[in-house]
């Protein structure tokens, strides 16, 4: 991910979640934010409510975002 990163994380949060949180924050925004063009979002995943998706699954699926 180009610009956005973790700006701050409490010490304990740093260990367990920061990488995942940055990724989930990105996906939350891509799929749940932004200008909505009504009736024209064709992405299959667009209706997924990310809050219900297990973070580990997301990370497994999109890990290369951070390694590339």
């Amino acid at each position: 991910v180009s610009g956005a990163r973790t700006l701050y994380a409490s010490e304990r949060a740093r260990v367990r979640t920061t990488r995942n949180v940055t990724l989930v924050d990105l996906l939350d925004r891509l799929l749940g934010g932004g200008v909505v063009v009504h009736g024209h979002v064709t992405l299959a995943a667009a209706d997924i409510d990310l809050v219900d998706v297990d973070i580990a699954l997301l990370v497994a699926a999109t890990d290369e975002l951070f390694t590339a």
Partner: protein, 214 residues
């Protein structure tokens, strides 16, 4: 051929260059002072493939570097240029107002997690209710604890709590105040031993692309 939408921006002398999803060239469709940043696709992408996400995000970063912009939800596809022109014309007032609101600002995300572990399986209904009440109390306390951040933001957007986070908020912050904001989060993190805080950004103003909630 259909059109994948990345962002709405103001028409300006600097064009957005390079490619977007599927290495398709980015171009602008202009309408009355606004532009839509798009790429053309025979078959628009319909998956969250990492390469797509990365290309999309990179296009947004470039659009953001150029000036005020509103990101589009990932996967927004319109039939053709006239459909884009019609959308820009129909929503001109709303889009122009939001572009004005986000000019010179970025989105920062703050999540608060409870440091104490969440309660395990519950032996009884009473215990379950008690645990739920405790969770709500913690969330309300976390929301109160984060209130000092509101003064550093132009707008605040409250998201539904997700996963194990108690509070999830987006802040629209002047680009010049990012470091000050992060420092304030760090200070709160020190002052609030019961919470773990995580602040990410700067993001394009995803949570502020529509009219603010009343």
């Amino acid at each position: 051929m259909s059109v994948l939408l990345y962002a709405i921006a103001e028409q300006g002398p600097r064009r957005i260059g390079g490619t977007g999803v599927g290495e398709r060239p980015l171009r602008e469709i202009a309408q009355d002072g606004l532009v839509a940043v798009v790429s053309d696709h025979e078959r628009p992408p319909h998956t969250l493939a990492p390469a797509h996400v990365r290309a999309y995000e990179s296009a947004l970063e470039r659009a953001m570097a150029r000036g005020a912009m509103l990101p589009a939800r990932f996967g927004s596809v319109l039939a053709d240029d006239p459909a884009v022109n019609a959308m820009l014309a129909d929503r001109r007032g709303e889009l122009a107002a939001r572009l004005e609101a986000v000019r010179g600002a970025v989105e920062l995300s703050v999540r608060a997690f409870a440091r104490a572990p969440a309660a395990g399986p519950h032996a009884s209904g009473t215990e379950y209710i008690r645990a739920r009440l405790e969770e709500r109390r913690r969330a309300a306390a976390a929301a109160r604890a984060l209130r000092p951040l509101d003064a550093l933001a132009r707008e605040v957007c409250e998201h539904d709590a997700a996963g194990d986070s108690l509070v999830r908020r987006s802040y629209l912050v002047d680009a010049a105040r990012i470091e000050g904001f992060a420092a304030r989060v760090a200070q709160l993190g020190d002052e609030l031993p019961e919470l773990d805080l995580v602040c990410t950004g700067p993001w394009p103003p995803f949570s502020f692309a529509g009219a603010p909630r009343p």
